[in-house]
Structure formats: structure tokens, C-alpha cells
Symmetry: C2
């Protein structure tokens, strides 16, 4: 690294692992959200996220932000990440306070730190392409830019935000371009228009910036939260012995005062020095069972079967019912997933409706099923 | 009874309860076939069959024929039927040997006996109408007739045999009419023609005849079986003490020599003195899950739910998944039934295909699932 040209600044990985992941109910639960799940034999998405970064960012430079319910399991899955760098937020405050906290805590140790922010529940199928993008993103961040990775859209998705470029960008050679505007989740008609122009890319939720740049941006755009985060840092980095052990108590006391807001909305949409890297590294946010189905290998009738299934005239099924025989007769395009206490059967084109199942269970206070 | 005009002869009930009932898999199994199942809180179909007969035939005059796997459970469900009258066939030989055996055993005690033969796995929703038919059937049988109950067809069913009358019969007043011919299960086109003529009635599988008439018919049409059955009778009704206790051993020795053939095919189609009673007493043979669904009460979206189910945009479902929450999203017209070891999901219009599931399990020697 020291022989590299241009500005220096060590790259740290900030992994966001506090998500609730209700969209994989009944397999995902409050205490076992999507990022911690094993999807049929592979390691969890969180573990995959760390392993994917390791060639560029060693585990000792990884910081993981999660919540109190999950911290124990996160530590279990990531024994290589220093325990003091796995932080449990006492309350959910969306991404801006979380990323700001990461910047404060890391900058307290390394003022020149460059941060890469990574969701922990996405899939990336082309790691080599991902690493090339990472190198460019870190370089741009060291120059003081705020960098966002824009994924080349493959369909008019209405569930993602978009990054708008002024002109239709090329994917090769890899370049960082000024972002014209961030766009929130569009309607289907708008998403179709976006796709057609080829100027709109999916907002991947992956950002790169210097810790100092984040702090300044928050001071400008979210001053109350910035002050709270600075106070947290002061309490744990001052003299007094074993300061990091005081962090949970300090967070419990001060963190709830942070505003509940996303970093996109709080900072990115307002900042001027934002660049985007249009890219394609086989990204999939695995937002629904249907997205998972699409990625799985299928038999010759388009079934993805993860438990013993006897099929008669059935096709397009995803079946995961551990420990019992499933007989499917005359079925088409369904997802069937069972746990000890719940059975989900959903049409494959309606898997986004599972959030309604979860919110009905919440309303009915069926805590045991959440 | 003794003040009744016309020929006398006590009416006995012969209940056939040896059926395997694979069509309700996975709820029905070899050791828990349809006739022994409770369908959602009611008593079993076998128990209902006995209770339905009781106003006309007391339990002491009921004989039940089943197999060795089921005899214990049959005895448990029918404590009011004398134990010596619950007979376990050592092997399956279809209905002709079974009914012939009933005639021999009952005639050994009461030579004037009149037998009514009743399947144990059907539903009858109008018991009063059924009792009126029973009275007429017994009267005709006492006259030496072979009586079959023909059920007024409600759709062009291809799964039943038919009873053909020479002319379109009236349902009221109740009358016994000569049967022109018995017809085996027709094709759909033929069944539609049958329905149109109004001369073809569903063969209910319920027959009435004197024990002596059955014996003579079998001697004429099935002499080898008739001789075997007479030999069985001789061995258990002769002198030598507690002869009925010898029955299981005698059956094991001799019964397998009987021909494997239905009484319809062996006798009814050939006999001349057959009369049919065209009738309607809300009969349903509950041949499939779909038939059961039709009979159940439905919610306003045509769902019949027998376990906790959270529905989103779903209709026409039969759900019976004990002990867990079912979430159904975007589903239409399915049957979902789960047991400890199996989950069946089947389109409601394909429930007759379940026999294919069972035969595949048999082929794969999955004894634990049969």
C-alpha cells in the first residue's frame, strides 16, 4: 500500500448487519434475519460478505454494525473479526447514524481512514469484477469524493433507489462519473423509462468515503446527530482505561438521541462531490424468495427442490420443507417453505407480499412467529 | 317385527370395513384408512355407518368385515358390536367372498337371515330418507329378491358403476324396479349420455338379500368359492366347543382359496331376480379430498380451513395442517394437508391423482409413508 501512488488512507470495511429481513419469513425471523441465514448449505450472506472483502480488506479492518438481538450470532459467525469491532446498536436509527458512528470510532484510531460501507445481505456473483470496482472506489474516496456503486439495471425494478448520470455511461473501462441525482424507488412506469434511457443505475447501497468526509457531511446536513456521535466518541476514546468496554453503556445512553434517517436521504442527495461507478458484478439483493428461486439451479421442469419432493404434473416450484415428504400434484410456480412452527405457500410472482404476512403477525402480537 | 305382514326374516347389517382408502393420503394410511378417520371432529365414517343403521338394525345384529391390520381399531370404535361379529380377513379377496362368508356365518345362527351390505366409508346426509329406503329394501329381500340401491346421479361421474333401468324411474313414491343391466365405470362421454337419459343410477354398493339367496347365487356363479365358504362354516359351526374362537385359524387356512372378485361382477351382473330402488338420501362416497371440500362449510372466499391460516389473496382452499400457522399468498383452489411425516399440496381438480402418489411410494418401498 505504501508504494501506491496518490493519496493514502487505509480502507476499512463497514458492514451493516442489523437488518430484520422479514421478506424471507418464515425462514427468517427477528433472531435469524436474512443476513445470518444459510441458504441451502452455503455460508451465511454475512459470512460471504466478509469473505468477499478479505482479499482487499483483512478481517482486522472490518467493523460490523448490528443490534443486540443478533450480536451473539454475528460474533459466532465472524470469529476472525475483532470482538471490539462488532457493535450492537441499542436501537434502530437507520443508516446515517450508524455510518456516522463507524466514522467516529474508526477515525479515533486512524484519522486517515477510508470507509467502504457494505450491506450484509446481498449476493455478488462476480467477485473479481467486484474487486476491480472496489479498487477504483477506494482511490476515488481517497481523493475526497463520496463514491456510490451503481449497478447496471437488468429490469425495471420498483424496489430499489436509482443513481442518475447526466449521460449514458459505459461499463468499460471502469470509471467514476459525477452523479446527477439520486432517485427514490420509482413507480413501474418511471422505472421502465429509467431502464430505457440507460442513464439510471440501481443504487447498490455500497458507499466509499473518508471518515473525515462523512463527519463533515453529517456536521453540515445532520448537526444534531453529528454532535451526538462526537460525544459518544469523546466518552470512549478519552483517558480512563479500557475505554472500548464502556461503549455499550455509552451507546445505550446517547445513541437513541440520533435522528432516524438513511444516509441516502440525509447526505447523499444533498452532497455535491458525489461520484458513481457504473458497474456490473452479478449483484443481487435477494429481496424475495422469488429472487432466490431465480438464482438456484433448476431441474428440467424448472423446480428448485431442497427437500424430498414427489412431483406429479408440477413445475416452477421452490420447495424447502425439512424432514418430511412433500407431494405436489398439479402445481405451478409456487414457493413452499416450512419451519417448525409455520408453513408458507406463496405464488412465485407474489413473494413481495410476504411483508404483509409479517405485519399481520405483528399486529396480532404473535411474537413467537416473528 | 312379528306383527309385520308378509314374509319374515331378521335384517342383519354386514359392514365392509377392509378398504385401504389411499385417496386420503397423507391423512389416510394402511393402518388408518378412510373409514376409520375422523373428518374434523365428527366420529369416524365407520362409527357413523353403525349409528345410522341402529334405528333399524341393533348393534347385536351388525357384522363387520375388516382385515388384520385394522381389526383392533375397529373393535375400539365399535364396542357395542359383539367381538365375535368383527371378522378379520386374512387376505383381501374383494367383496364376493366376504359377502358369501357373511351369509354362511350368519345363516349358521339364523337360517332366515336377511342381509344388508353396507360400505363403511360413505356419507349419507338424509338419514330419514335412508331409513325409508332400508325398509323397502328389506321387504323386497324377504321376497327373495336381490336388491341394489341406485343413487340418483348428480353429475356424469366416471368413478362409479351404474344401475340401468328399462324406463326412466320416478324417485317418489319409493319403488323397487327390475334392473335392466349393471354397467361398469363409464367414460366421460358415456357418463354424460347416462345422465341425460335419466335411466342410469349410481351403484351405491349397498345390497340386500336373504342369506340363502346369496348362497345359492354363489353356488351357481362361483362354485369354488361357495364350496370353500361352506367348508369354513362347517369347521366353525360343528360340535367341539367354542367354535367361534376357531374362526381366525380356519380363515387363515381356507379363506385364501376364495376367488378374488367383486360381488357385482361375480353375481349381480349375472343374476335375474335383481331389483333396484332409485333413491336419493344425500349419498356421497367421499372419494377424494375434493369431494370432502365440497361438503364442508366455506368462508366467504370459499375456503374450508381446519387449522390456523393467514390468507392473503387466496380462495378455494382446503387447509388442514395441525399445529402450525399456514400463510397462503395468492393461492387458488388447492388442498393442503399435512401430517407428521408428509405434506400434500394438490390442485383441487386433481385430487384423484393422489393414488399416483401412493403407488409411487409403494414402488419406492416407502413403507413408513403408506
Amino acid at each position: 500500500m505504501s508504494t501506491r501512488r496518490g493519496p493514502s488512507g487505509r480502507l476499512y470495511g463497514v458492514i451493516l448487519a442489523g437488518g430484520r429481513g422479514t421478506r424471507f419469513w418464515p425462514r427468517s425471523r427477528r433472531n435469524n434475519p436474512k443476513q445470518l441465514m444459510k441458504l441451502w448449505g452455503k455460508s451465511s450472506l454475512l459470512r460471504q460478505t466478509v469473505d468477499r472483502l478479505r482479499p482487499m480488506i483483512p478481517s482486522r479492518d472490518i467493523w460490523v454494525f448490528t443490534n443486540r438481538n443478533l450480536v451473539r450470532e454475528v460474533c459466532r459467525q465472524l470469529p476472525d473479526v475483532p470482538r471490539a469491532q462488532i457493535i450492537a446498536e441499542p436501537v434502530q436509527r437507520n443508516t446515517a447514524p450508524c455510518i456516522g458512528l463507524a466514522a467516529e470510532l474508526i477515525a479515533a484510531r486512524d484519522p486517515d481512514a477510508v470507509l467502504g460501507v457494505f450491506p450484509s445481505d446481498h449476493l455478488i456473483r462476480k467477485p473479481a469484477a467486484f474487486h476491480r470496482v472496489l479498487r477504483l472506489a477506494a482511490k476515488q474516496a481517497r481523493l475526497g469524493k463520496i463514491v456510490v456503486l451503481g449497478v447496471s439495471p437488468r429490469w425495471p425494478e420498483t424496489g430499489y433507489g436509482y443513481v442518475e448520470f447526466a449521460r449514458r455511461p459505459a461499463l468499460a473501462p471502469l470509471r467514476a462519473l459525477p452523479v446527477k441525482r439520486f432517485r427514490e424507488k420509482p413507480s413501474l412506469a418511471v422505472a421502465r423509462r429509467y431502464l430505457k434511457t440507460q442513464r439510471f443505475f440501481w443504487n447498490s447501497g455500497m458507499f466509499f468515503w473518508k471518515a473525515s468526509v462523512i463527519r463533515e457531511a453529517l456536521q453540515r446536513h445532520l448537526p444534531r446527530t453529528a454532535a451526538t456521535l462526537a460525544a459518544i466518541r469523546a466518552k470512549v476514546s478519552g483517558p480512563g482505561g479500557a475505554p472500548w468496554k464502556r461503549l455499550p453503556g455509552v451507546l445505550a445512553e446517547l445513541f437513541p438521541a440520533c435522528e432516524n434517517i438513511s444516509v441516502d436521504y440525509a447526505v447523499l442527495e444533498k452532497a455535491s462531490q458525489v461520484v458513481g461507478i457504473p458497474c456490473d458484478f452479478g449483484w443481487n439483493d435477494l429481496g424475495t424468495w422469488s429472487a432466490v428461486y431465480d438464482l438456484l439451479p433448476h431441474d428440467d421442469r424448472q423446480n428448485a427442490l431442497y427437500s424430498e419432493t414427489l412431483l406429479i404434473g408440477s413445475s416452477g416450484l421452490l420447495v424447502d420443507v425439512p424432514g418430511k415428504l412433500v407431494a405436489a400434484v398439479g402445481l405451478e410456480d409456487l414457493v413452499v417453505v416450512e419451519t417448525k412452527d409455520a408453513l408458507l405457500i406463496v405464488r412465485r410472482d407474489q413473494t413481495q407480499q410476504i411483508s404483509r404476512v409479517v405485519s399481520q403477525l405483528e399486529k396480532a402480537r404473535r411474537e413467537e412467529l416473528l
